[in-house]
Amino acid sequence: MTFRTDESEDTMSTGTRTRAPHGDLPTGHKPADGRVAAGLFDPRLMVRSFPQALRKLDPRVMVKSPVMFVVWAGSVLTTVFSFTDPGDWFGWTISAWLWLTVIFANLAEAVAEGRGKAQADTLRKAKSDTVARRVAAGGEEERVPGTALRIGDLVVCEAGDVIPGDGDVVEGVASVDESAITGESAPVIRESGGDRSAVTGGTKVLSDRIVVRITTKPGETFIDRMIALVEGAARQKTPNEIALNILLASLSIVFLLACATLPPFAEYAGTRLTLVVLVALLVCLIPTTIGALLSAIGIAGMDRLVQRNVLAMSGRAVEAAGDVSTLLLDKTGTITLGNRRAAEFVPVRGVTENDLADAAQLSSLADETPEGRSVVVLAKERYGLRERSRGELTGAEWVGFTAQTRMSGVDVDGRRIRKGATGAVLDWVREQGGRVEVADEAERIADLIARSGGTPLLVAVEDEEGARVLGVIHLKDVVKEGMRERFAELRRMGIRTVMITGDNPLTAKAIAEEAGVDDYLAEATPEDKMALIKREQADGKLVAMTGDGTNDAPALAQADVGVAMNTGTSAAKEAGNMVDLDSDPTKLIEIVEIGKQLLITRGALTTFSVANDVAKYFAIIPALFAAVYPGLDTLNIMRLSSPDSAILSAVIFNALVIVALVPLALKGVRYRPLSADRLLRRNLGVYGLGGLIAPFVGIKIIDMVVSLVPGL
């Protein structure tokens, strides 16, 4: 019932959606409407990554991509062949372009990795060797290098110290600068106990003193894992990537068969095919475009998350995000603004709204909670009541909110004003011998407000007329702007949204309706949440959620996509498969879109790559055989100038298309939340049909250029 209510609201609201980038991290490029937009692409990166691309020509590296390994082997073969016939310029040219094809593929991967490298370097700076002040068994401090720390060690950090390792605060409160990790320059509060106890190695204590219990081994800290992730060192092929590689390998085998069996066919037809020509045909036919860009697409997908300050612990999680069909969203901070606001003052009979507003404002002057502020503001804006400063009310005695009284208020000029939960205020009025019939009316109003999803706060006064209820303040959860549209979009994408809240079912229902979510879980305990996830998963659905508390950890681990907030506990961060450094739960929606975008980019380039083959056949087959079967020249529908030029043009097109598509692979296909039908129609049109037509045009243009070269 009390799962994440008020105590976590301030942490939720620290997540800002328009945060300035810092240092030389790439910009989290985010347009105003929150769409998944293309990332940045800098052509200079291509030049800078060139040496790395050459290093990747090592066959031990090449063999990881079956398609490009075939091209690599073909390049070696044609080069060797060219040495046996050094005067054959055609062989040399084809060899050169085949090598370029391989290099372009490596370049794509190197560029994708290069972007992560820059980020890793920034992180390494933060990780510079630290000295830890370890508390020894006897209680005295000793200075040891950060790398010598073991799990369970206690270390002391004071203002100016860099925290030597990941851990939980066991003593004290401190403000900590976490900008090295999150890029957020505003300091955060870390304190012992509760859900804000986790500190990260490499961050800096700005004030006060804390004692931290180390929870991670040196070398395995959050920052270490972050470096490994953004560098791609820990990258493993995802399930879908493996399956796609199988398809690509089998297509390569099919085309290998088609090419390997061609020499006897040609011999029979009365012509001889050189090795160079056969390799050229093979390279054109196997799906080199997607083969070359596949790993770059995967790396870039992770990178797009990093740009949004989300760390995915595995590529598998990014892929799963695309498949998610149920989103569990916390009400507070995600669907509604962190805090409830006063929406109206409802007086009981015989009391004017102005009187009620005046009393409410007075009682809230000392209340620094956002709810309290909103009462003051509403009274000012709607009833023109000037906000009085506490100083001008001399002799006022402020009554603060306590868990026992559940009321706050003020005693001034012989009036005692109280504001608080219905039951507490009514009890107070009765104690003071107040009138009961008014209390009944106030209870009815409060009930109505509660039923509409609001929170009622009763205002009562005791003066010379005795104790009585003046009326009710209607506190309302304010649904964030644009959420309803966002949820409608998700629905069109086939994703069900479930609001998780600690509110009672009545309140939850009202807010769920206002926000337009598909379902809600009221009075949610961590166990309820876990049960919901399991229930959804039993139906074969993939579930995504966010969480930050230690009690969220089991659910985060159970969910297919569990996004832990960076402000959360280390248990939560450990359990989730993503960490949001901005601690912005709304980002879950973007994560899903990035997952989908990754899969779409893969599918689009695969389709494009396979569709390309048709044109290449129409270029190469007539070039090879029109001499013996003149009728086959009918297939030369592009009217390419000569057989050599036709083959060369196809090979050049095949290589250049990789370079041309590198930006698309890195930025990802533009994604809009549409239904599967419309997405498929659109992408089939662009990448399927486009993939059929583009090479006809491209090869023709290259042929026109190549034919200008003298001697052709």
Binding site: I246, V254, L257, A258, F265, L285, T607, V610, D613, I621
Partner: protein, 554 residues
């Protein structure tokens, strides 16, 4: 009536008849394969073979059943031919040679019906009826069983149980093939197909030379030959022979029989998976390819240049006058786009492009609509590949019929599509590269190449039709086509059943608005494209050097 109009009307009549039979037959087959009861005759059979028809089988048990049954079938058929000389009712024919017995046994058990013998000069009544005709039934039933097992893989979840092979085999035979074939045989007899056990008649021809005419149980065998997409003719001339296919009406009826079960099985698939719309999408894919190539075939045959051809109203060489170009084209496409391989005209004599269409039909894997059972499972594997290619474009990892297509599923589907291209291309290349095999080619140039390519394409895809013009009765071709038939039939079955097992073990994925809709015209279009591009591209160089070189010659 112009020949073109007559051809089009025949095609329309055929489509109408198939449409009428689609729902009732499809539903009936779905009921048969999900039936809980056993007929008395079926119980006897189960008792005789010692099978428990109610025991669920894993994919490997199912496969073992198929292999055991097929090995037994090959052995029985082999021995029957080898012992023909001592069996009664053999019309005095001697035992068949070991090589030919083996080739024929494999050919009929694999539903290929490649015939390296002359039916009327080699096989007596006993071998024809007790051997070949029986395999015509059961080899078809095996194909249907495998298809049903795959459909169950999609329909079931979290189970290893793909059904019982023996029950599927026996029910397919007893409740589907036998009743329909019986009715069809009566229709054929009524239309003039012979059905007797008479001996050999010697008849003087008007050219003077004597000719032998056999009697035989032709109508009954013809019915199952077409219905089971077998294609092995009673006579060497196959469905061009007037005793097998006497009139344009029987011709159209036989084409109807060829296409009947393969198309209707898409309905069965829809019913068993709980969504007839999914069945319609597969049906539409098959129908578009089949109709498209039938139209193309008619066009290329009717429009052929050359004065002699124009005088005859098109390319009439190798075609029967009673069927004309329309009736022959419809038959040729039906027989090669299924695994039938019966012929009512000589594919070798078609125009270059027309011959190419018959080749392409087989190369597509015979999936439009394909053989009984094999057409459906072939198309479903293709759908798995198409879903994988394009499914990612909706932003989810690929799924088909609520099942995820992951690495294992992809591996099996990829292996499936590799088998026949590997067999066809490697064996064709070897035949051309080796010194002796090319001597079998009776024509030079591109046409000769097509002959060899056709032989292996036909064998590996279990079609069984021959292009003619190739002497395939040599050790090389007997052995290699035999290997192609065996591997081309059973290797894909291994992959299909393993795929079925993998799918059945999965938990179904819920369908949402984000799911790729596979029951829409868009998906059918995608499937047509994927089929043509992937299989078409595999064979493009080979097709270019054969039929295209010939058809585009100027």
């Amino acid at each position: 009536m112009s020949p073109v109009l007559s051809g089009v009307l025949q095609l329309l009549a055929l489509v109408g008849a198939l449409a009428l039979a689609y729902v009732p037959l499809g539903n009936h087959m779905a009921r048969v394969y999900s039936s809980k009861t056993h007929l008395r005759a079926e119980r006897w059979i189960y008792k005789a073979v010692g099978a428990d028809p109610d025991a669920g089988m894993t994919w490997s048990a199912y496969l073992r059943g198929i292999l055991a049954f097929s090995v037994a079938g090959v052995l029985f058929l082999y021995l029957l031919q080898r012992l023909q000389g001592v069996l009664p009712g053999s019309l005095g024919f001697s035992s068949v040679t070991p090589a030919q017995s083996f080739n024929t046994a494999v050919s009929f058990v694999t539903n290929t019906n490649w015939q390296s013998y002359y039916g009327e000069q080699t096989m007596g009544h006993v071998v024809q009826t007790a051997g070949l005709a029986v395999q015509n039934f059961v080899s078809a039933a095996v194909g249907m069983a495998v298809a049903v097992a795959l459909v169950r893989g999609f329909a079931r979840s979290r189970t290893g149980d793909l059904g019982n092979f023996w029950a599927d085999l026996v029910r397919g035979t007893v409740r589907i093939l036998v009743p329909v074939a019986a009715v069809a045989a009566v229709v054929l007899v009524a239309c003039g197909v012979i059905q007797n056990f008479s001996g050999i008649h010697e008849v003087g021809q008007f050219t003077g030379a004597p000719q032998q005419w056999n009697g035989g149980a032709v109508a009954s065998q013809e019915a199952i030959k077409e219905l089971g997409t077998n294609g092995g003719g009673y006579f060497n001339a196959n469905a061009a022979h007037p005793f097998e296919n006497p009139t344009p009406l029987t011709n159209l009826f036989e084409v109807f029989l060829i296409l009947l079960i393969p198309f209707a099985m898409t309905r069965t698939f829809g019913v068993l998976t709980g969504s007839v719309r999914q069945g319609y999408a597969i049906l539409a894919t098959m129908a578009v390819i089949w109709l498209g190539f039938t139209a193309l075939m008619m066009w290329t045959e009717f429009a052929h240049h050359g004065p002699a051809l124009q005088a005859a109203g098109g390319a009439m060489e190798g075609k029967e006058v009673r069927f004309g170009i329309g009736g022959s084209s419809v038959f040729a496409v039906a027989t090669t786009f299924t695994s039938t391989g019966a012929v009512n005209s000589f594919h070798s004599s078609y125009t270059g492009l027309g011959g190419g269409i018959t080749l392409l039909g087989m190369m597509l894997g015979e999936i439009a609509p394909g053989g009984v059972g094999s057409g459906l499972y072939g198309m479903l594997v293709m759908a798995v590949i198409a879903v994988f290619l394009a499914g990612l474009m909706v932003g989810r990892t690929p799924e088909y019929l609520r099942k995820k297509i992951g690495a294992r599923e992809m591996k099996l589907a990829a292996c499936y599509i590799l088998v026949t291209p590997a067999l066809v291309l490697v064996l064709t290349a070897a035949s051309l590269a080796l010194p002796t095999p090319p001597h079998s080619m009776l024509n030079p140039g591109a046409h000769g190449f097509s002959e060899v390519l056709y032989a292996f394409t036909s064998a590996a895809n279990n079609n069984g039709s021959a292009f003619a013009g190739l002497n395939a009765n040599t050790d090389w071709f007997n052995t290699t086509t035999g290997i192609a038939m065996l591997l081309g039939r059973f290797l894909p079955m291994v992959f299909v059943l393993a795929l079925a097992g993998s799918l059945a073990a999965q938990r179904p994925v819920p369908v949402t608005a984000g799911t790729l809709r596979t029951d829409k015209p868009l998906f059918s279009g995608l499937l047509v494209g994927a089929t043509l591009i992937i299989t078409g591209l595999t064979y493009f160089p080979a097709l270019a050097l054969g039929p295209l070189a010939e058809g585009l010659a100027r």
